[in-house]
Symmetry: C2
Subunit: 550 residues, 2 copies
């Protein structure tokens, strides 16, 4: 049986657009003689739909489109469809895979394991399946599962998260093929994890596997696609594109044909992160109805990297760079920023913040003299934020935030200032990773795109004379690993100190992270590329944060 896997990029809640996409992919697939066409988890509504699921009318519209536009595709002798969709039964909602055949829903396969960790909230919306069963299409039996249901093997995982393993029971009937509809967001290391698990499962159950993943950015999450096909020896024998839509075809017979060539997994390098961020940026901008972005270019490395990403995602003609020098800006900063804009062929404007800053000093300080305190550093940053938002509001740009994760974690950033904007593309990259990405961009271009000076000079906010990041923060090569242990590994102070870090530094960093929780609550969404988590992935209280000392 020739199976088509439609790896599509849905927009959350854009039911009509998504439905059209599904119908279009189906038509393409049957032109190429597909005998079964498969779509990913919740393909019609897009994943994650979140509280859209609380609206009955939303679920009704999904059902209506399914009935009017998807199910009829399969009428007569047209090939069947497998598609992820919401399904209501007895007042409960299920996340399901539907098999649609001959113009009707033939069977409903409910998800059993509902993830509630990290950014996921499925128990908020769904009830778990009671039982699952094997199904067949064209007389070929297979186990049909949705995402998390294959992620609880008791031998593969040292600590399985759930009490049941749906595969264990499903494979008692030895179906020979496993189909999994997923919406699995990318983060660094995810590819290898998926590959290891899928290869393990194929061998364990002696089954071929069709693993179909969603592609595209939706808010902070970036789905990488990269759908995978394994033979029954656990070898990867086909893969779809990463970070792009794809329609791939594979004959079920070849799952059991040992002469079919193996393929390699994409390499987990900085290039993959660059592709993830580019897609995430592009989709955020276009899926919120924008076309062009405005970026404050400081001459520093963060804004340079954001500008390169924006040009890759949207084209140079849709990117505007704004330089906003002050008396504290270093000589080179403006030159570096202009050089970057020229290298990228993006338009730029130079708007000094000096006049406005002086007006603030005149309004707020005795004699209008600068006091050079933190409040004045923040005012400068906020003037820049306001100028970018002014351009955005007047001319229809979306403002990008240029800060990185290291800064955001410790609150070394100004609320309503450099934090102002609709999306923070680097919010999940450590300062060290920003450097790696900058070098990657310079290496892949014929000549350096990002001025070398932006890379080699010591990082500075340039909000007071001769300021350097290291005046306020531990060096990034100390800060970043502490942040990793506190935020990603979720260790307490004493565990981190036991790893050999200076106790004062550790306590200081943790205090800064805790105090900055209120800033992150008001921060723009970031693009997620690690298993760190801010946003909905990290749900910390604010009250009491000065008293957390464990």
């Amino acid at each position: 049986m020739l199976v088509a896997l439609a790896q599509l990029n849905p927009t959350i809640g854009a039911l009509e657009d998504n439905s059209r996409k599904i119908a279009h992919a189906y038509q393409q697939a049957i032109k190429k003689n597909a005998e079964l066409v498969i779509f990913s988890e919740l393909a019609l509504c897009g994943y994650p739909p979140r509280d859209l699921l609380s609206y009955k009318s939303f679920l009704q519209k999904e059902r209506e489109l399914l009935n009017k536009q998807i199910i009829p595709l399969t009428s007569g002798d047209n090939p069947p469809i497998i598609v992820g969709a919401n399904f209501e039964e007895d007042g409960k909602l299920f996340n399901t895979a539907l098999i649609i055949e001959n113009g009707a829903v033939k069977s409903v396969h409910k998800k059993t394991l509902l993830p509630d960790y990290d950014v996921f909230d499925e128990s908020r919306y769904y009830s778990p399946a009671g039982e699952q069963s094997i199904v067949s299409v064209n007389n070929i039996p297979f186990a049909l599962t949705v995402c998390e249901d294959i992620w609880n093997d008791r031998n593969f995982f040292a600590k399985p998260l759930y009490d049941v393993d749906p595969l264990h029971k499903l494979f008692s009937a030895k179906p020979g093929i496993l189909i999994n509809l997923s919406a699995s967001p990318y983060h660094r290391g995810k590819l290898a994890l998926r590959n290891n698990l899928l290869s393990y499962l194929a061998k364990k159950y002696a089954c071929g596997i069709f693993y179909l993943n969603q592609v595209g950015g939706n808010d902070d999450l970036i789905f990488d696609g990269c759908s995978l096909i394994y033979n029954c020896d656990g070898q990867l024998i086909y893969k779809a594109r990463s970070f792009e839509e794809d329609l791939i075809f594979f004959d079920t017979d070849n799952l059991f044909n040992s002469t079919v060539k193996k393929v390699a997994l994409p390499e987990e390098d900085i290039g993959l992160i660059a592709s993830a961020l580019t897609l995430g940026l592009k989709d955020f901008v276009t899926k919120t109805g924008f076309k062009k972005v405005v970026i404050g270019l400081s001459g520093g490395i963060d804004s340079a990297v954001v500008a390169v990403l924006a040009v890759k995602a949207l084209g140079a003609e849709n990117v505007l760079g704004v330089m906003m020098p002050s008396v504290y800006s270093s000589e080179h900063s403006l030159l570096d920023a202009v050089k970057l804009a020229d290298n990228l062929h993006v338009n730029h404007r130079i708007i000094s913040i000096e006049e406005v800053f002086q007006a603030y000093l005149g309004s707020l300080n005795k004699d209008g003299e600068a006091l050079l305190d933190l409040a004045e550093e923040n005012v400068q940053s906020r003037i820049r934020g306001n100028i970018l938002m002014h351009i955005a509001n007047r001319e229809g740009y979306l403002t990008l935030v240029t800060g990185n994760r290291s800064e955001l974690a410790v609150g070394y950033c100004t609320l309503y200032g450099d934090m102002a904007g609709a999306l923070a593309p680097l919010a999940d990259l450590s300062k060290s990773e920003v450097y790696t990405l900058a070098q990657h961009f310079n290496q892949e271009a014929p000549s350096a795109v990002i001025p070398i000076n932006s890379i080699v000079k010591p990082p500075s906010a340039e909000l007071r004379p001769n300021q350097k990041d290291e005046d306020s923060l531990p060096p990034y090569n100390i800060l970043d690993p502490i942040l990793e242990l506190y935020l990603k590994e979720q260790m307490g102070a004493s565990e981190i100190i036991d790893r050999g870090y200076n106790a004062n530094t550790v306590n200081r960093v943790i205090k800064m992270v805790n105090r900055a929780e209120f800033k992150r609550k008001q921060s723009a969404p970031g693009l997620r590329v690690s298993s760190f988590a801010f946003g909905l992935g990290r749900r910390m209280p604010i009250s009491g944060n000065t008293k957390w000392n464990w």
Copy 2:
């Protein structure tokens, strides 16, 4: 048996402070001959602890304090304690009630029903209890439950949320007393709901009920306390204070004594909302380590009401009002704002935004002439936000946001402008409720605190000549009910139109609400007093929001 109910105000994650509070209340209770002292759900860590629970070291510290400071209290013949605490077993975490007797944990009572709706995320952290059993203290048997476990009666609720009802099984042994440790946040209507349920359960199971609730604000949630005691005829016979700590005593014999007098539930009026907001404001400010607040006083009703609340919560000496007039400010605005400050005896400053605004025009517009577009309205609002933040940053104030829910819902507010600040006390009050609250404040004072002019003049943002809210929005008496149907009842457009509202208006309002999702993602926490939900209670995507038309 004389039972003491300690209705305490914990701070989330402030384990040592909370532990001291518990020990102190215990000592007070035994001085008055209590034979059993009860504390609320998760009394040691405070509710909701959220992702603090992901830190092993946090759970260890809680356990350590329990072992060192709480459990030893009961050694020898000292009376036993019932306290809500986290409990780890076989790698799983449970939300439990512990019975502590003679210096040891006597039994552990796990919560079965884990709420995942609205602001709750318990499945993210906890495993459900397998089974529950009756326990006795001083030979008096009772059913001991945690919060949600009493909220699934199949006869009381038309649509129970869970498949099991823990009480049904527990009461097969007819224990005669039900104890429930809760952390139940206040919202309008909650009192009556609790009363109806508890009264129903007391009658159904012929049991007396001790219902102990947490009190205090924690971020957006305000716990009202108001712990309740019911006799076995379902009559309310004792209640603790609302919105204050309390330590109440009640003899179990009197649960079955029909001569004990009934007491009345507090009335659900605007005064209760005022108390809730006052406590929420006070606790947010103090629990985040602040003492004093700064408020932009526009002369309008919202900022006036926030100022009154702040004075009630923190005292006039801890409130600073800042008037920031522009050329578009009406004649009366400044006078009204100054009058308010005088009435409240709060300090005020007048800082014109004109000089800074002109500097922006000079930097951003040709010839420095105003264009009077939306971008310039936003700049004015952002200058005000920046001035408040400058004062806050320099002088250690916490900035309060003055906007109401009607504005926030439709995005009639400026990101980084009037939305700037750490807490939005009115974020869950409709414009109509703000008026009611203003009138309430004026009635309870000997003379009007809020200038009548602030109440009677048509609402205006005063960002362009002769601007009125109704130029941009439907009248509030149309807008508010549509918002209620869309946001609270979660109806779709056609359902709302079916209720008799103009289709264009409904579609326009829904579009505004959807488009404003990105603003709310970056808004300050609000104080929750309704069953509307923003913040963690409403988790909507941003991507795709221009395409939602169901």
